[in-house]
Symmetry: C2
Subunit: 335 residues, 2 copies
Amino acid sequence: MPQSAIRPIEWVDGEVVILDQTLLPHGEESVRCTRVAEVAEAICSLRVRGAPLIGIAAAYGLALAARGDEASVMGRVTRAADLLRATRPTARNLFWAIDRMVSRAEAGATADELLREARAIHEEDAETCRAIGDHGAPLIPQGATVLVICNAGSLATGGIGTSLAIIRAAHRSGKSVSVLACETRPLLQGARLTMWELMRDGIPATLITDGMAGTCMARGMVDLVIAGADRIARNGDTANKIGTYSLAVLARHHGLPFYIAAPMSTVDLSLADGSAIPIEERGPEEVRSFSGSPSAPADAPVFNPAFDVTPTELVAGIVTERGVMTAPYEKSLPA
Amino acid sequence: MPQSAIRPIEWVDGEVVILDQTLLPHGEESVRCTRVAEVAEAICSLRVRGAPLIGIAAAYGLALAARGDEASVMGRVTRAADLLRATRPTARNLFWAIDRMVSRAEAGATADELLREARAIHEEDAETCRAIGDHGAPLIPQGATVLVICNAGSLATGGIGTSLAIIRAAHRSGKSVSVLACETRPLLQGARLTMWELMRDGIPATLITDGMAGTCMARGMVDLVIAGADRIARNGDTANKIGTYSLAVLARHHGLPFYIAAPMSTVDLSLADGSAIPIEERGPEEVRSFSGSPSAPADAPVFNPAFDVTPTELVAGIVTERGVMTAPYEKSLPA
């Protein structure tokens, strides 16, 4: 089945149709949102997730909110933007997309024009993914195995992904490439989503638990690591799914390159370094259980940060739609 | 509740009563073994687990097999030993206990004498745990947080554990000590067993997923790491639960000491280094599912090594019943 068949979000007849990723890979069901509050709930509950994709979801949510009396578009968009900004704190793309939509509304855009803007954000992200893939593919040597974490694929973006775009581009160019996918506890996006995507595409992939990454590197089973990103500071410090930092330290210990792949909309030009990136902490039940099955004493104290920050020193390069940036990253960024 | 209430294995009225650890912490049920094949099944299926404890289980299994016609004890013990040796390849203590029982049988021990030998192995391990705790407790600074993996506690030994013995001894001495417990996928011994033990003892403990260890170290939440062991080579290379090696690399990166705690029966004097330690690979279903719930595509390829090897360079010291050994370890070992 072609990977383009994966459509994690669509605008259909005035509704935002979101593939419910919490049910994958065993259920493929969508939720149809007719109100922005439903979109916000889908973002909070991770029915839709992945930094670029939640930006797209927020844009469609604002397009939903804009519909109605044209005289009060701005008021509805402002309230909806406040609601959406409060859903998840870490992914920069969410705020980037909301800001872009709000600034169009401030410039007097109609509801129809705001829908066109949301569609443009969606379509531009698909193009961005293709460009990330094309720029990053040369980083993968012939016959290499790439270690990945979480899901930075079609289910995280409006296109073919970020880290998975690079793997897909290398695969399509005829290179032999295989993947080791960390399952990515607590919500298992690697096991549930990345394995599902790669198996659909026929790209060889093997699933491991997060604790196996080190021994796989020591055994020579890994050639490079490519991770996505939720927010990148000006100096290259990068917030991404919890566990990414450990992979970067392990890669350094084993002399393996560790790359980040993300659209420019993930870069937060306001942050000099990663110390001010807000790190979302989620509820204890995610760690005490999976999919309804308890895995720990019911009252076990839990620490559950959803993201960690990898310092720029451990990053070999950042692949964006503009090319492969290397340190010092500030030189590649707008002032 | 006093920790001594945890009895993972007992010989009761001619039966080996094994607490079924696969059901913990939500179910506390025992299996009663009347034949050695049932003990072997309990070891294979991890109803009884932990390197010292499976040695004790094997000893009781051989005591079971010995019962019957006194003229043919040796034949039954030999066949039972073959069965038990084939259960799990990595833990040295299993083979150590079997060898000790077989050599008693070869010396003409009766079934009653073999039962006394099994009980002695059990009781000596309890004493060994106490000694490990006493030797190791000074390694924990006042107010420290210890990161642990898997379960190296009462559920893994005949006593108060190995790494958990050290934490318990520090706690009992009045030191303020807290624990960060890695959940330890795939089988979640950290979440299910270590959290259960520590919460019973009233020792402050917080559960994290395995991928969170790095960020916890970077945030200054960890003072030292203490892991158990399944097999230790003469040079100090140590096989332990998968994920241990990653913790050792992370500890080194953050300048934190990484200790091993284990009885001398875990040391394999026949191995110069860890390269020849057999590493058990287990079935894919352990990784494709989580606590009974499927967590990946049903046909996802999986790599599932149950252990990894931490090289001696990353080990700050090995705590045994004899004291704290440091490199070069060969000097502390019998020739």
